[in-house]
Symmetry: D2
Subunit: 379 residues, 4 copies
């Protein structure tokens, strides 16, 4: 694997590398980690890469690697740059013949996302988008239980993803990622809704198996001096007519990384929170609540859930393991290529849907929260 | 005290009576419990009333009691009838010179609510509306902490009140209260939003000390055969510009009586849930979470919170004690009358605000969730 | 009902009175609340008793009440004095022909407890000991589930009751009850083990349906200046051969009223904590955890549990309601007397067992924690 | 690194390997995974080792590796065999000049443990024992807070480690590790107390900074057909005079991997449970509870705690990350050798203490639970 982005001090790049390590299946052998060529090469060497594969730019990496013999070159590229450069990096990597695993959101703008979608289709290669919360065994279990009808027809969903790391004016400049995420030129058309709103959006679609069809949204910029949304909420409709509310904010003081979801059906309901990923509650009307726990030996879980567990019940699984489940799935798919099996990741279509969600929320918000269809947004 | 409504099998009437008992300050000595005069008298005798004060109708009760010597007659009336008859009963009781404590929502329709508001003003008597969840010590503590600025300026609120007791078609006819609450002629203009949405609405205003000024709402009738809302959600704005989402539903299977609130400020946030009323979490950015617990000996709580505790810390307080705190406050206010002190209950103005909330939500919902101001709703 | 003890500032007396009020079945009409005759009478009048039934001493109360016509006099006596006077008060009340409901522990010394046991037998009257934690619906449910074999044969029990209100030297004199509970002359042979250890002991026997047969204990006095145990632990055996550990302490800083129990069987296990009485967890091997919640409408609970609920699911029940369930049971038994039905309370035999537990723990502790049988303790 | 043990199907070997991977600092390059030479070599190749470093026995590995040039050979050996072979493997590895990291308990018998202790001293090399639960950031935080006096002088400790995977007769033969752990010839003098009781023992000493000096214990064999303890409990004393109870069992149905600890001081108390490692509660008398959460950005945590976090707050850390913290510490110590810094692991002395605990518990148990000092056990 080669990496694009994720240089010194970048949080998410380190997370991708550790996750790949955990799989035991993926080796990072090349990279272009920074737009500064010297910094990029130096950081690659720091990471233990062979100096001639610590590249100065991603263009250089793609060109050189593509010229190596098949059994020596990288098989896939991991893209962990700011949103605005996903499209160029992904399209170039696909054009060079490499499978791509890419951090979310898919791009800075819907138009770029559609460009990636087309490039994936043209290349016939594998593409995975990393929404790591869907790598938790119990997030998979929620999807499986809902698909099996355990809670009946979905009626109402409440999802929220709240943080506080941008809750003050001084936070806007406090870290590399705060700077680029608050800058429309690099983050793209949205701030909080792009960064974490899309996680909440995708989790709803992932668990319910239903598309979000329209939203009535309000995006706001709460902290003075910012030019991009840092807080917002939306009502939404699912394809089956169910209704929901979604909140996403990075200015809710006291919230760390509070992604939570509640899904209510006509038979029962499901509760899961990213911060306590090792329990999921199912409430069926007129029965005791059930609390499920992940474990490689928990026979009451679905096969897919069990396959996502590295240890028996009672051994807590964390964020990095969930993320590693995406990389493990992607490595498996790469191995099985040219078959197009499950990559363990979100698909490029999921990524485009997320970008349509952002665009629709922005349009609705500018239009007094009028209901806005995702499939109707103009590009 | 005399009671209007709350006959055989009525849940809420029994709750009011036990709550009054817990105070040790209030004695039920008269009542008109049913629209059927014989049933009313028989039930009063069953409850241990003197037969001549177990009345056949509330008109009879008010007339006879008013004619008794001052130290023998009732001092106040508790109204626990279906919503549609609150206005007639309350206005008559006030006209007869009795203070009134009344179950929520204030009335079936905003117009009736305004009629009660006028009658209270004209009478100079006390009026209390029972939103019992504000009687919990920690709900009071949330209000006091927010008023003291502990979490800073409010930015975002999430509140929901979800139940499942009307989630199936057969539930509509399953009990007396299911029948009248599902019947627009008796419940009034709204179902779920009137019954429980107003609790959520009031809890937000009670804790934050801010009015909800406008809503973008969607009310729905999910279960076939019903002619009134049983589910809905709204985005809302508070007077200080903060934003929030409110969900209220009686068709969310697996939810018992799930009233929960989260309030986020620019310093910290507060979490409280009615189903676990004996803990409240305060999260201040960059600090450990704090979990508060009620107790007559918990010196870190506000004086008002401590006064609402009958036992020391570690002795769980329940729903009936919270309800009794409303009655205890009302009894204290009656004792201090003609002073108009705190009744421990919501005011008639709070009740009118709740009715404006219902009306605005209905108008918004009919108007594609357009933002609708509460103070502008036409009557 | 008449009351003995529970004067001004006494915590437990007020709890008994409110609990009796909640039942709606019991009226306090007489009392001797203090050993100071004037204080006793004044306090009775403050409580709203007729002045001639606010007595100066319990002897006076018993004599006068016994001389009243049967339909005017009290039917039962509630004893809420310090432990050392339980025996005299109870024996006198029984001798005067009144049923007795008495606070725990049964007495200050085992010998006094045996005296009460004999008096109960001789009188043929009803006797109830108030271990209020067994009045919680889910404590009853635990007993019923275990009796029905849901968790199989009991193998191991962990129970603890920890508090901190006596954790400092100055606490010993900080309140009326701190003074007498720390004074062997009034508390009896034990401090913490008598006050709260017996609650833990009884809860084990109540839930498991098994007697504790022997203990290996260590009682300690941790806070300087005290002459009675304020902390301790024991290993114990149940009649079926199961094993357990019990901790009881009033010097564990940070613990409010932390009574918790875990019962493990060969099929599953049960968890319940007094401070969160509205949920109980059942864990069966290889299955999701089940969380049970009390409610008058929760059909999955036993009939006895449902009967102990005043409100539907989702309406939290508290300490006072649990205590009231004991009084409600006792009132029912008094009504059905001379039948000897369930009093809802612990029996005099349970109380004697608790005193044997204290005695055995003290003997074991003095004997290097040697295993000591409860049925063999010398009096 | 080279590994001894941990062949096909061994749970703990795979855990050690993934943990080492997570550090990014350690590479597994050699191994002897099974007592069957062919199986050992085949499994090594499966793991991706160079065929000539997939050895047939640990003796072979130690000999060959020692003969390689210093910059090619392994630097340390990880021992993950059944308890009975720890001593031979560890002594041989040390004799061959390799640092050793070894799974717990230190050995099958105290005598073997003392042999390892002597070999470590003679070699001057590094030795780390893996009690992974002390690798959790909040376990470290508990130690730091207690050392800083936050909860005052320790008075009482409750610790338990309960599982159910051996709760039935058929479990004894259900897996490789069930077989050897139930076999005194391979597990050593104890079953449950050795396997998990030592974890509980070490966690107490680790967090409190105090030695356990004596125990009054009862070990039992609950499931028929077993010849080794599968359940037990003990009262214990700490060096400062504090008292505690410890339960350890593998036959408590419904318990997965339930290691929990509560430590009470004269100022406050601390609660932590391995199954929810991402929160720790501190209760100071008369104050709200504090709930701490791990995060690389949580400034209220100690430096050592923060150093043990790979991700910011709100990203749950799991069992494998805790285990990896031990390996990361060991790798750091190896790098700094010949300095003898913190290995992140338990020391050989801790391991000997654990073996003394087992021996003392067995002696006490055979002696009617008589108090037995750890430093006095005969070997």
């Amino acid at each position: 694997m080669g990496m694009i982005g994720g240089g010194k001090g970048a949080l998410i790049g380190a997370v991708h590398r550790t996750s790949a390590d955990i799989t035991g299946d993926i080796e990072l052998v090349a990279g272009a980690f920074s737009s500064d060529a010297n910094a990029s090469r130096a950081f690659g060497v720091d990471l233990g890469l062979a100096p001639n594969r610590a590249y100065g730019s991603f263009a250089e990496m793609l060109e050189r690697e593509a010229s190596l013999p098949e059994d020596e070159r990288i098989q896939c590229v991991s893209i962990v740059t700011p949103n605005d450069s996903h499209a160029d990096a992904a399209c170039a990597a696909l054009a060079a013949g490499f499978h791509v695993i890419c951090d979310k959101p898919l791009a800075g703008h819907l138009e770029d996302a559609l460009r990636i979608e087309k490039a994936v289709a043209n290349s016939g290669l594998l593409f995975g988008l990393t929404h790591p919360y869907t790598g938790h065994p119990l997030a998979i279990e929620a999807r499986e239980q809902i698909a099996a009808g355990e809670i009946g027809d979905i009626r109402r969903v409440t999802v929220s993803y709240l943080q506080d790391w941008l809750s003050r004016e001084e936070d806007t400049k406090a870290s590399k990622q705060a700077i680029w995420r608050s800058d429309p030129a690099r983050s793209g058309e949205s701030g909080a809704f792009a960064d974490i709103g899309t996680h909440a959006f995708h989790l709803v679609e992932f668990m319910t198996g239903l598309n979000i069809t329209e939203v009535a949204a309000e995006l706001r910029t709460v902290v003075p001096g910012r030019t991009i949304d840092d807080d917002g909420a939306a009502m939404f409709h699912l394809a089956n007519g169910a209704s929901g509310v979604l909140s996403a904010s990075q200015v809710c003081s006291g919230a760390l990384n509070a992604l939570r979801i509640e899904i209510y059906g006509d038979v029962g309901s499901i509760f899961w929170a990213q911060e306590s990923p090792n329990s999921m509650t199912i409430k069926l009307r007129g029965q005791p609540d059930q609390v499920l726990r992940p474990g490689s030996n928990a026979a009451y879980l679905s096969e897919l859930t069990i396959a996502a567990c590295r240890t028996p019940g009672g051994h807590p699984k964390g964020y990095l393991e969930a993320f590693a489940n995406l990389y493990a799935g992607f490595a498996r798919a790469v191995r099985n290529y040219p078959a197009h099996g499950d990559t363990g990741c979100a698909s490029v279509e999921d990524g485009v849907a997320g970008m349509r969600f952002i665009r629709a929320a922005l349009i609705s918000s500018r239009n007094q929260s009028a209901w806005t269809r995702l499939d109707g947004v103009s590009t």
